[in-house]
C-alpha cells in the first residue's frame, strides 16, 4: 500500500484499534493521526493526555487489553500508597504509565510543545506512525449534565459516566490547531481522511471544534470516510449510545451519518445495519458494509484494508 498517505482523526480506545490496523499495513510515516486532546487534564500536578497515551500504547503494542487503557504488565504501587496517605487517587495511574506523565509534564514545564514531546515519546516507543495533538493549547471538553457541568475526565472516571448528559462543549482561550496538523491536512501527497470509530461527540467533535481543522478538511479535495462507532443500535464500547440517548438522539448509524454529513464522502457500517444503506446513500454519503467489530488484531488490519480500499474507490 505504498501509494497511501492517510490522516486518521481519532480519540482513544475504539479509534486506536483502527489506527493500529492502519499502522500495521502502511509504511512508516504514511499514517498521521490527529488526536483528541479535549480529555487532557492536570492530576497531582502533571499533565495527562488519555487519548494520546492510548494511541501510543496501542501502536507500540504495550497497551493493556483487559482494561482498554494504560499499559500491560502494570503495577499499582504508587497508586496504592497514595490511597494509604489519604491522597486523591480517583484516577488510577500505573507505575509504568506514571513515568510517561512525569516525563511529558517536565518537558511542558520546560517550554516544549505537546506536539514536540509527543513526537519525542513516539520515537522512544519506535512508532512508525506520527501522532499529532489537535492543539498545543488547552481545549477542554466540558460535559453539561443533570448533576452540573464538569470536565470530561471527571464525568468519565470520577463519576463513571453516571450523570445524564445534556450538552457537550469545548472551552478554550486559544482554540487553535498546530502548523504540523495543517501541514499534514494540506499535504499534496495525501490520499484521504479517515474518521476512526471513536465517540463522535466526545472524541471527534473536540477536534472538529477547531474551526481551522474542520474548514481545511472541508476544503481539501481528498476523499473522507468514517467508520461507524455504532453497531446495531448500540455502541461497541464506552458511553456513546448512552450519551446519544440522553441528548435525545436515535441510536443508529443514520444519526452518525447525519452528524458527519457535511464532512464525509463515505461511511463504513456493520452488516447488521444494512437496513440503513438506502437512507444514508440518499443523503449523499456512499456506504460500505462490513464486519466492523474489532475483536482481535486480524479484525483491525482487515477493517483497515477495507477502509483504505473504500477511500481509494471514492477518490
Amino acid at each position: 500500500m505504498s501509494e497511501n498517505n492517510l490522516i486518521a482523526i481519532s480519540g482513544g480506545i475504539g479509534g486506536a484499534k483502527l489506527c493500529y490496523g492502519l499502522d500495521q499495513i502502511l509504511e512508516p510515516g504514511q499514517l498521521r493521526v490527529i488526536a483528541n486532546t479535549g480529555d487532557d487534564f492536570l492530576y497531582l500536578g502533571f499533565y495527562i493526555s488519555p487519548d494520546i497515551d492510548t494511541l501510543i500504547y496501542t501502536l507500540a503494542e504495550v497497551n493493556n487489553k483487559e482494561t482498554g487503557w494504560g499499559r500491560e504488565d502494570e503495577t499499582w504501587k504508587t497508586h496504592n500508597v497514595l490511597g494509604e496517605l489519604g491522597a486523591d487517587n480517583w484516577f488510577k495511574l500505573g507505575d509504568k504509565d506514571l513515568a510517561l506523565h512525569l516525563h511529558r509534564s517536565k518537558a511542558l514545564r520546560n517550554g516544549e510543545t505537546l506536539t514536540s514531546i509527543t513526537q519525542d515519546i513516539a520515537e522512544r516507543f519506535k512508532l512508525k506512525t506520527v501522532i499529532l495533538p489537535m492543539s498545543d493549547h488547552i481545549i477542554q471538553t466540558v460535559v453539561d449534565t443533570d448533576e452540573g457541568s464538569m470536565p470530561f475526565q471527571e464525568y468519565f472516571v470520577k463519576e463513571s459516566t453516571n450523570p445524564k448528559v445534556r450538552e457537550i462543549s469545548f472551552e478554550s482561550k486559544h482554540p487553535e490547531t498546530t502548523k504540523e496538523v495543517l501541514e499534514a491536512i494540506n499535504d499534496p501527497e495525501l490520499s484521504g481522511f479517515m474518521i476512526a470509530p471513536s465517540n463522535p461527540y466526545l472524541s471527534v467533535d473536540p477536534i472538529l471544534s477547531i474551526d481551522k481543522i474542520k474548514q481545511t478538511i472541508m476544503q481539501s479535495n481528498k476523499p473522507r470516510v468514517a467508520v461507524s462507532p455504532i453497531i446495531g443500535g448500540d455502541s461497541v464500547k464506552g458511553p456513546t449510545a448512552k450519551i446519544m440517548e440522553e441528548m435525545g438522539l436515535e441510536v443508529n448509524v443514520m444519526t452518525i451519518a447525519n452528524h458527519y454529513e457535511d464532512l464525509i464522502d463515505g461511511l463504513i457500517i456493520d452488516n447488521t445495519d444494512e437496513e440503513y444503506i438506502q437512507a444514508i446513500e440518499s443523503s449523499g454519503i456512499k456506504v460500505k458494509v462490513s464486519n466492523i467489530l474489532m475483536n482481535n488484531n486480524d479484525d483491525k488490519t482487515r477493517l483497515a484494508e477495507e477502509a483504505i480500499e473504500f477511500l481509494n474507490e471514492l477518490s
Copy 2:
C-alpha cells in the same frame, strides 16, 4: 521514662538510627525531631525532602535496610520507564516512595506548609514522634567543590560525593524557622537536647545555621548532648570523614567536640576513642564512653537509653 521530653536534632540515616532508638523507649509525643531540610530539592517537578523521608520511613519501620534510604519491598517501574523514555532519572525513586513525594508536592502547591504536611504524613504512618522541619522556607545546603558549587543532592547523588569539598554554605532568602520549632525548644517541660550522630557539616549545621534556632537552644537552661558521628578516625556511614579531610580538619572526636563546643554540655564517644576523653573534658564538655556503633535495633535502643541517662546526669 515518662519524665523525658526530648528534642533531637537530626539529619538522615545516622541520626535516624538514634531517633529510632529514642522513639522506641519514649512515650507518644515525648520526642520531637528538628529535621534538616537543607538537602530538599525539586525533581521532575515535585518536592523531595530526603532527611524527613528517611526519618519517617525509619520510625515507621518501613525503611530499606540495605540501601539506607527509601522504602523496603520497593519496586522501580516508574524509574525504569523514565530511563527508557530518555528522561532524567539520576535520582532513584521507588514506586512506593514516589507516592509520598506526589502527595506532599500537591499539598505544598495547595498552600500547606512543610510542617503541616509532614505532620499529616507522620500521622498516616502512625508515628508517635513529632517530626518538625527546621524551616518552611527554602534553605539550601550548597557545597563548594573543586568542580564548582552545587546543591547538596547534586554533590551527594549525581556526583557520588566525588568532588573535593572546599566549603559548605546555606543559602536562603528567608533563613527562618517555624513557630512549632521555637515552641518545642521553649517548652518548659523539655528535658534536654540531643544532637544525633548525623554529619555535623552537612546535616546538623544547616539547622544551626538558622540563627533563631541556635540562639534559642543556647539560651535554654536544659542540658545538651551530642553523639559523635566519628568512631576511631572514620565516619560510620556517609562522607563525613572524607569531607573533614577535604576541609583540612583532623578526623577524630576532638574535632567534633570543638565543632559543637559552644553548644553542648556532653559528648558521647565510642570506646575506641577513650584517648580523647581528657582533651575533650578539659574543653569543658563532659564525656560518656560507650559502644556507639548501631548495627541493629538493640544497639539503637541501648544507645538511646544511655544517651537519655547521660542527659539526665547533666541536668
